[in-house]
Symmetry: C2
Subunit: 204 residues, 2 copies
DNA sequence: GTCTATAGCGGGATAGAC
DNA sequence: GTCTATCCCGCTATAGAC
């Protein structure tokens, strides 16, 4: 029998409600109900709706960047790094499929949020410039085919993230249930890796 | 000197506000102000906020499907069709970059919307089953490499749509201005077509 | 068709007892 | 820490004069 932790319950409920309804559409009452807690109690733990929301979106952004950065650092070659990223990303997002659309949608409405809460972590780590440099270096060494680093990165991110962003559309369009969706996204790892190799592996 | 058309002004303003703030975040007052019209006048033309919103999202969905369907029907081969789609889509979305994130985000919050307003148009036209059939046929004839139709479609859609969905992220990440973004998205047409050919063109 | 004024209420936030 | 009651603002929507 575990001790009931109000703050944890609130965060869990808030996550669900904010992610499905968005910042403006979410109702504090609904979060409180879902956490089996009084609305006043919620304000006892989190001073304002905005503060609670910030906490949720920070957690979500953290979850995302935690999977990018480790896959991309180290001294493996580019193809290995991107394949590792594919594994990590699809696994994590399969467990949290609504995170990307939530982040992107909120970012669209408040672009400053990104600057403040997400970019700093990526910029500070210097992952991106290092990756660019490695791509250009491996090209000079003829280890991979020529491609603009921006296009390569955007292509891989597109292939990884979009299927989750568009989940509601394409599960309905392809008439998939939840189980089929998960299986499909697992197949998709191989598909994305195939494209990465097609793009980068030099012709023999 | 053109005649002032209130209804048109409202729709134009509503489009901007709904797309940037979302359905729940949008304020009727802001739409009215932007349309240089009285708030009561707005209710004269559109009975409720919801009705106005529905009109906006229907227009947006229409704009999207208008570009998919024509590129995919007819008797061209798959590669030509997908390359045509690439041209149409990136051109249209470059003019309306915030439409995809708007639609996807609202769809996520109200999945029923899709069933009602978008899917019917696509389902009725029978584009998707026909396309699937053509893909399988060309594979049997060894005109294209083997690939599951679902993965092919999802890959192409990812490559086309995601750069717009993630526009705020990657313009900031790659430190791009509006002009550079447009130029980059134009380059991207060639990049996407290259990937389509890599995926489908049989090795000689 | 256009405008002013206002109804009416949903929902964020707080007071204050226990 | 927990709860009830309530404040009060902002917002959708309407009434009604012109």
């Amino acid at each position: 029998m575990e001790k009931r932790d109000a703050e944890k319950d609130i965060l869990e409920a808030a996550k669900k409600v904010f992610i499905t309804k968005g910042s403006a559409g979410a109702r504090i009452q609904e979060i409180a109900d879902m956490a089996n807690i009084n609305k006043a109690m919620l304000y006892y733990y989190f001073k304002t709706k905005e503060q609670l929301f910030n906490r949720i979106i920070e957690d979500a952004a953290m979850l995302m960047s935690q999977n990018i950065i480790p896959a991309l650092i180290g001294d493996k070659n580019i193809i290995d790094k991107l394949e590792q990223l594919t594994e990590n990303y699809i696994d994590t997002l399969s467990e949290h499929p609504y995170i990307p659309i939530f982040i992107l949608s909120e970012l669209n409405q408040h672009p400053q949020t990104f600057q403040d809460k997400v970019q700093s972590r990526i910029t500070d780590s210097n992952v991106l410039p290092n990756l660019f440099q490695q791509i250009l270096l491996e090209q000079q060494q003829n280890k991979i085919k020529p491609i603009a680093p921006q296009h390569l990165i955007l292509t891989v991110m597109s292939l990884l993230v979009f299927p989750f962003v568009a989940k509601p559309i394409f599960t309905q369009l392809f008439k998939m249930g939840e189980t089929q969706y998960v299986r499909f996204m697992n197949e998709r790892k191989a598909e994305v890796k195939k494209i990465i190799r097609l793009l980068l592996k030099p012709n023999p």
